[in-house]
Structures are given as structure tokens and as C-alpha cells.
């Protein structure tokens, strides 16, 4: 039954895509985040839906859309370079089979991130993509939130509709992305033009944000807790009544802690004493190994190069009476658990540099837009809040990815693509409309150029020097000595 429903939905939305090809793009986002092929049992799992929708969205753009804004931006060029670097490291990988397996989905995510900004040239399109991203993630987050409320949580045990704990359905990954979606959800509750803010829509958006907050509790991930703290700090920047906001946050924390499951509070306590915790000590050992590995492989070892690590983990701890208990553990083939080290180990120093540049440029550009249009009212009032929401979501991801290897997760590439598209939209549409006393209008520029052209002497035809006789004839004479 679920198979039929998912197939029906996909076929329906694809049919709408033939009328408006931009919907193919939205379908790709849905397929990538929700992965209906993983939710279904028979039919969809045997068809390469992702590739089909990918081709359809590209063909739709090629046939229908305006291509006047398809000039690549610096970040798109950086992404192209990163894609080429990934292709090179895959070809020269230490573990070719494992690298090829990851390359299979990474190239699609990156090509799509390079392509998507070209299609986002109206406000409705930007908003539509964001809505599809949020509603797709809601199909996972709401399940998780409801199950957490019903008491079915636990690290690696919260059932998010699929049995395997991988991709977007992995505990720490969904925690980080659910929290990084909250600023965008709050933006939609207030400024959406497609889902117009009404009492019901707002109720839904706030319930969805609450479900996202419950995900880190349900999955019992420490990453999620840190992301929540960062989100609370970032939202403080946008709050009008900051003291009221702080008071509400304090009340939620004080009132909420007694209701948290004991297993959750116990797990969160391990954030402080990382030495005694096997997971944290292993991560530190992997990161140390990666730095050493990058010295030998400055251009990276290809995807999944962590397979080759052999770790000696220091798990020494101090007892209550001050005795230090020495403990050494051994492990091998442990994942990076950090996107920055993932980039360093897999793509080397150039890959890490490009990764940081792509993300930092995005954050800085959103800050510039946020500040420039902060005081705008009326039709441009949505610009600054959207820039702030995208920036906050991005910053939360940057923190979350310090504990999970999500450098190539498609969701963040969608967010980067929206940032690029939104940035260009602001430069082409909003900047033109905004009042600027020093702005030169096009006709003024054209007139100035015309005047300059007229004034400058013609270089090919130099003025001929008059002969003496001609000069005598043409120059004014002031009289002669004879008085004639």
C-alpha cells in the first residue's frame, strides 16, 4: 500500500512537471531527502528514480527557462573545481571500490548544487525550493518527534521508518539538519508567500519546529544538543525583546530538564569527560591519524580513505581518589566523524581549502545581505530575515559537522545553491529597486558616455596645420601701420 501511495505521488508530481518543468527540480529534492525508494519495499527500489528526475530537471531547464542569468558565480566555479578534485582523488584512491561507491552519489549532489542556482531567478522559485526541502525533512522529523513524545527514543534505536541507520536517516545527521532547518521554518511561518501565514499554517510550522527540537532528544545525540545551544544564541540576535527571549529560554530549560529521559541526561553528561568516553576518545584518535595521513597524502586518499586507519586510543581516566587508571584501546577502520577531517583525509589540503571557502563565502555573503536590507520595510522586508535564516542554518551545520562526517550530504549543498541563487536574485532585483541617492541611472551613464565620445578628438584625423598664407587670411587683423 505504501509503495502504491509513493508511486502515485511521484507520478502525479512528475506529470505536473510537464506543465511547469521547475517542479522536476522540486521532485529531485524530494527524492534525495525522503528517499522514497528506501521507504518502499518492491517497485521503487528497483528503479533509478534519482537519476531520472535529475535528467528531467536539467532537460526542463534547457527547454523552458530563462538562461540570461546562467553565468557562473565564483562559488559555482569553486564547486566545479571541487568536483574535478573529487573525480581525480576517486581515480587515484587508496581503496578504489569504496571510493567509487561514495562517488556514485556525491557527484550527483555536487552537479545539482552547481546547476540549481541557475534556475532560482524568482522569489517564488527560491521559496518553493526551500519549502520542498523543509517539507521533505518534515516527513522524517515529525515521525521522530512524535515517537520521542511517545517514549520510543534512544541512541541508534529511534525508528525513523527505515531499518538502516544511514544517509539522512542516521541519528546525528538528522539531528544536525533538523536543528539547522529551524531558522528556515521560523522564516516560513512569517514571510512565506506560497503558504500564506494564517493561524493554521503558523501552528503547523511551530509544531514542526518543536518536532525538530525533539529529534536530538529522541536520537540522544550530543551533536544535536550543541546545535540547539548555538541556535538559541543565534536566534537571540534576531529577537526584538531579548530579555523576554532569554527568560522564555531559561524557563524552557528549567521546566524541560525533569521531563528528559534519564538515559539522555546520562549521555549528555559525557560531553565533559571525553577521556572516559570511548566514542569521543576514538574520534580524537581518528583526527590525529588523519593529520598524519594528510602529511603523506597532501592531495587526499580518495573517498572512504578512513578504512585504512589503525588506532591506538588513549582511554585513561582519573578515579574519585585521584588514581589515574591507564587504559589503551585498539581499533581500525573508524570513520572520520568530522566533516573537516573528512575533507582533509579524502580530498587533502586543496579539498579542505575549497570546502572552507565555499562555506565561509556563503556565510559572509548572507551577513552582507542581512545588514544591507535590515531596515527595509514593505515589499523588501523579507530579504534580511531570509539571509539571517540561511546564515543561521549554515552556521548550525558548520558546528554540527564537527562531530559527524556530513561534508557531502546533499541537504547542505541544496542550502548553498539556494544561497547562491538568493544572492544573485538580490543583486539583480532588489538592489535595483532600493533607493540609492548615489545610483547612476542607465540613461545617465549612456549620456555621459556619449558626451565623452563626442568630446574626445578623433585620433585618425589630426587637425592640419594651416599654411602661413592661410593663417594670414583667416586670422583677425588688428589694423595696419598705414591705417588702411
Amino acid at each position: 500500500m505504501r509503495d502504491l501511495f509513493l508511486i502515485g505521488f511521484l507520478v502525479g508530481i512528475m506529470l505536473l512537471g510537464f506543465r511547469r518543468p521547475f517542479l522536476f527540480l522540486c521532485t529531485y529534492i524530494y527524492v534525495d531527502i525522503v528517499s522514497p525508494q528506501r521507504l518502499s519495499y518492491y517497485l521503487l527500489s528497483s528503479v533509478p528514480i534519482s537519476l531520472m528526475v535529475f535528467v528531467a530537471s536539467f532537460a526542463g531547464w534547457a527547454m523552458n527557462d530563462d538562461k540570461s542569468l546562467s553565468k557562473p558565480t565564483p562559488r559555482q566555479i569553486l564547486l566545479i573545481i571541487l568536483l574535478l578534485l573529487c573525480a581525480y582523488t576517486t581515480a587515484t584512491a587508496d581503496y578504489p571500490d569504496a571510493a567509487a561507491e561514495k562517488w556514485d552519489w556525491v557527484w550527483k549532489a555536487m552537479v545539482f548544487a552547481i546547476f540549481m542556482p541557475v534556475t532560482l531567478y524568482t522569489r517564488v522559485r527560491i521559496e518553493g525550493i526551500l519549502l520542498f526541502m523543509l517539507l521533505s525533512i518534515s516527513s522524517i522529523a515529525i515521525v521522530g518527534g512524535m515517537k520521542t513524545l511517545a517514549g520510543g527514543g534512544g541512541y541508534g534505536t529511534l525508528n525513523l521508518m527505515v531499518a538502516n541507520n544511514s544517509g539522512m536517516y542516521e541519528s546525528s545527521t538528522i539531528s544536525a539538519f533538523a536543528i539547522s532547518s529551524i531558522p528556515l521554518i521560523l522564516y516560513m511561518a512569517k514571510y512565506s508567500t506560497i503558504v500564506v501565514p494564517t493561524i493554521f499554517s503558523r501552528l503547523y510550522w511551530y509544531a514542526f519546529a518543536f518536532a525538530c527540537l525533539l529529534i536530538p532528544i529522541g536520537t540522544q545525540t550530543r551533536t544535536g544538543l550543541l546545535c540547539i545551544v548555538l541556535m538559541a544564541v543565534l536566534e537571540l540576535r534576531a529577537a526584538r525583546r531579548r530579555m523576554t527571549y532569554l527568560a522564555i529560554m531559561a524557563a524552557i530549560v528549567i521546566g524541560g530538564i525533569p521531563f528528559l529521559p534519564k538515559s539522555y541526561t546520562q549521555r549528555m553528561d559525557t560531553i565533559q569527560g571525553y577521556h572516559a568516553d570511548a566514542s569521543a576518545s576514538t574520534r580524537l584518535a581518528v583526527w590525529k591519524w588523519t593529520i598524519e595521513y594528510a602529511k603523506d597524502h597532501p592531495f587526499g586518499g580518495g573517498f572512504n580513505s578512513y578504512i585504512g586507519n589503525k588506532l591506538e586510543i588513549d582511554m585513561s581516566y582519573k578515579t574519585a581518589d585521584g588514581t589515574v587508571v591507564k587504559m589503551i584501546g585498539y581499533d581500525a577502520g573508524r570513520a572520520f566523524h568530522n566533516a573537516y577531517f573528512e575533507m582533509l583525509g579524502e580530498q587533502g589540503y586543496p579539498g579542505l581549502a575549497i570546502f572552507l571557502m565555499v562555506h565561509l563565502i556563503g556565510i559572509v555573503r548572507m551577513e552582507v545581505i542581512r545588514r544591507t536590507y535590515r531596515k527595509h520595510q514593505g515589499e523588501n522586508a523579507w530579504v534580511s530575515p531570509l539571509a539571517a535564516a540561511l546564515q543561521n542554518g549554515h552556521l548550525i551545520y558548520m558546528l554540527g559537522c564537527s562531530f559527524v562526517g556530513i561534508a557531502f550530504q546533499p541537504f547542505i549543498y541544496f542550502m548553498i545553491a539556494v544561497e547562491i541563487g538568493f544572492d544573485r536574485y538580490v543583486q539583480t532585483h532588489i538592489k535595483k529597486r532600493a533607493w540609492n541617492p548615489f545610483r547612476k541611472r542607465r540613461r545617465e551613464i549612456e549620456t555621459e558616455a556619449q558626451i565623452a565620445q563626442e568630446e574626445e578628438p578623433h585620433p585618425e584625423a589630426p587637425t592640419p596645420q594651416p599654411t602661413m598664407a592661410e593663417r594670414r587670411r583667416t586670422q583677425p587683423r588688428w589694423g595696419t601701420m598705414s591705417g588702411k
Binding site: 522540486c26 524568482t122 518553493g128
Partner: protein, 65 residues
């Protein structure tokens, strides 16, 4: 039960957004929201030139004594 209900809700909302985008007039082009409407300016109609100063002709009656 929870799985099915939340899946249904998410898909219903996705379908709703897809339909809204399908009929949205500004999906493919940005609207001109300035609210200013300009009167179309046609080329100026040529007024018939009067005899006399403009044409250099002698106006009737101008040569009377």
C-alpha cells in the same frame, strides 16, 4: 500508525505546495511591483505650419497699404 500519518501529512503538504506553484503567475518571471503605471507616450502629432513667419510665405492681407 505514526509513520503512516506523518508520511501522509508531509506528502499532502508537498502536493499542496506543488499545486500552488503550478498555478502561481510569478513562478517564471518576477513581477514588476512598483505600482507605478505610465501613460504610453505616442509620437507628437505634427501641427500644420502656419503661413507667414514659419514658412516665409506672404500672408493674405499683409501687403495692404
Amino acid at each position: 500508525m505514526i509513520d503512516t500519518l506523518s508520511l501522509l501529512l508531509a506528502h499532502f503538504l508537498l502536493g499542496f505546495v506543488a499545486l500552488k506553484m503550478l498555478v502561481h503567475p510569478h513562478l517564471n518571471e518576477e513581477p514588476n511591483e512598483t505600482g507605478r503605471h505610465f501613460k504610453t507616450v505616442l509620437p507628437k502629432k505634427q501641427t500644420p505650419r502656419r503661413a507667414g513667419v514659419e514658412t516665409g510665405e506672404i500672408r493674405p492681407g499683409s501687403n495692404r497699404a
